[in-house]
Amino acid sequence: MALDEIKIGGLGASRRRVEDNRFIRGKGNYIDDIVLPGMLHMEILRSPLAHARIRSIDASAAWAIPGVRMVLTGEMLAARNLAWMPTLSYDTQAVLATDKVRFQGQEVACVVADDPYIAKDGCEAIVVDYEPLPPIVNPTQAKAPDAPLIRDDKTGQDSNVVFDWEVGDREGTDRAFAEADVVSTIEMHYPRSHPSPIEACGSIADFNRATSKLTVYMTTQAPHIIRAAVALVAELPEHMIRIVSPDLGGGFGNKVPVYPGYVVSILASILLERPVKWIEDKSGNLISTGFGRDIYLKGEMALRNDGRILGVRMHTDSDHGAFFSDAQPSKFKVGLMHSAFSCYDIGAAHLTAQGVYTNKAPGGVAYRCSFRVTEAMFFQERMVQAAASDLGMDQAEFRRINLVRDDDFPHRTPWGFLTDSGQYGKCLDLGLEAIGYEDFLRQKEEARRRGRLLGIGISTMTEPLGAGNSREYDILGIKMFDSAELKVHMTGKALLRTGAKTQGQGHETTWAQIVAHELGIPAEDVLVEEGDTDTAPFGMGTYASRSTPVAGAAVAMVSRKIRAKARRIAAHLLEVSEEDIEWELGRFSVRGAPDRGVTIQECAIAAYSNMPDGMEPGLENNAYYDPPNLTWPFACYIATVEVDPETGVWDVLRVVAVDDCGVRINPMIVEGQIMGGLTEAYAMANMQFITFDEDGNCIGSNYMDYLLPTAWETPGFELHEVVTPCPHHPIGAKGIGECATVGGPAAFVNAVIDAIGDAGVRNIDMPLLPDRVHEAITAGHDVSGAPPVKTEP
């Protein structure tokens, strides 16, 4: 009798999470929970200025503090050729500043001491003499003819421009605009935002002189990439480096890059021959580590009067801070910005992009976003709203006219992506029905007559998740594939390891479900491990919603290899030829004699005790999976809001989310990902951003200034699903972790703009703070949020 897949925790089971057993008891093992014998503690002294020449650093008072073991400065690192390190985008980044500081919060010196309090005392005792230089906080300033050169360390760099890039069909797009009935334009800034996991970054470096082995416990989403980076930066042999990523208190992209604190803790451990722990504080995390967004758009759409989009033209200016350290595929300079409009059937498209250096923290890494698709889809959906409005068309109808139809797949976008599946119209209709679209439009009109401002915002989008394939996607030349290794023990229990690294996504639970689905081994019999480079197979880590599309696929593929070997064992045990063996979940049987069979567990023990002649013993294997394409989930997010015209405060009335991420492995976990993403979308639309004043001071350097929504502000979410299996993924799944963060913000902003539609306003930059909304309503013009902000009274 076949097993009940849901009962064994297979595909589709809302299995309760295995990792929760330790988290709910306070028994997680996060970086700061790890204590090694003889461990010292490191703290970082950061620059208070955004741009300044360093005249001198006097650390003598720090050295004199009892318990201070070492003070490290840029000069000391330079003597070891370690003052600069390579970034993930072929640039260089200062580890500790030598010549200049280039952003507020930049790492200037490190103090290693017996405990973290003494290390902080040491940092306070260091005297740095700075000569202030004029700071640059936006692209306009960066490109001004008389702008100070930020990267005077780089030979051949004579401006603050990082790159110029273009993609698409310039002539074809020009033709589309020449034929247009209406051209719709809009400009906006997607503000700098910080992923801000509640746990900041940290590391414990432990260099053992006796064995020459370096072990580094580190908050990283991509341990194998870090191992390679450490080998290159520190010039250590890669096989003598072990990176262990313990439980992570969230990541959201913040824990992908290599940060100076990691590097200096490693050097300190090598020099002192003791374990050195560095735990970043919240302020250090917010002002110095990888942010997201900070990009300006000029968008134009060529439209026909009947509502068809003939062409799209986009220009972006991205602000990368002092060092170009984006973690993104090397071919694409503004990530996957050119995946915008992938869900629409548009004629032609052209994108030009420029990136600049500024005196702000480096990064531009994806924040819960597959390489700038968050910006791409936000710009897309804001442009779509403006276009519909310019045509005088209904928001939903304009989308319906232009969405790619179900029978048009596979669909090649004008920028070269191949979308392969989806039911876009069905998702939109389901969303409209759930929100009660027509009813709401009536309520809105009625409310308006009584002076109340209601609005509805729609955001429909597909996004490319799950890099690779390896033809197109690499980081620093390392191709983007992923891996899984499965060991089935003789009692039928199993150990699974992958090259991904969970940060709350629940891999320990879901990967076991894939094994259960493929082999019929109950999920509770499968132990999942990740994050230790000495044991896990090589992989590119977890970000860009790539774990299920790539590592999850590898789990299915390695399970199938195990099943193929088990089938041969079954044939041997049942004394029939392999062709006469049939598989049902968890059991092989003889064709035509279903009573004669063996379970997968019986095959497992036979693999160690009674294998066929000539067969290699054991039941273990691995799989490296290189996906043929990205996965293309689709989402329709709809929000309704009420804006208070007196104050500019807006409240969310309802949020409806329709997600099609293909086959759902664990529906409970998928819904958790969607709700978390929607909350970050709401946060960015409503309150969460980092900005700078004229002096380059970071506004948003702690949780008193950098606002995150609490349970009180966060709206409730109504979730719906559509399932279009991914045609190339072994179990039909698509990425989901980031969809709501990517597609969500436009739904909220579109709703507010819709509510104040009578004011003649096209755009208010996020976050839609009450004063911005109030200014838009009362002055009737667009409101920019670009830095610098005025801090003078």
Partner: protein, 193 residues
Amino acid sequence: MSTLFEEVPASFGDDVPVRRVTLTVNGEQRAANVEPRLLLAHLLRNGFRLTGTHTGCDTTNCGACTVLYDGVPVKSCTMFAVQADGHDIGTVEGLATASELHPIQEGFKDEHGLQCGFCTPGMMLAAKALLDENPNPSEDEIRWALSGNLCRCTGYQNIVKAVMWAADKLGGAADDSDDGSADGAGSDAGEEG
């Protein structure tokens, strides 16, 4: 901890003041010599190795370090250890007994009220303080009681459900017709123990 010796850092200058604090932690009497500037969170984590109390923001905003101080939720990262002298401190490690989870812990697991788990101990202790005072809170009351605790993963909706689950279990064990395990949960929801 051994009473045979107590290692004192060699660097410890004679001018560093030390205070003895005696407190109850999860029902057990504990004592330590501390510098007056030591934060309560660090005494719990580094001194007593109760690492379930997390420090997230250092500014009393995130609530990951929430502990119960004579039953009242406080943020232990902005409180000195000496302020806890003579008081009763409850941490996440005190929620479960050896054999049984607290219903709040069960609720968080069953309703998927956590993802990365970092905010969870503080969140559960804030919830416990609420339920101790108000066994039947409304959704708004739960959201308000937890508004001093930040979560970046869940969007709070499942946390609210988890607290309601616990309230049901604590209050209505008698008429427990639904065991709370939703579709497909059967194989794992009950695996504790």
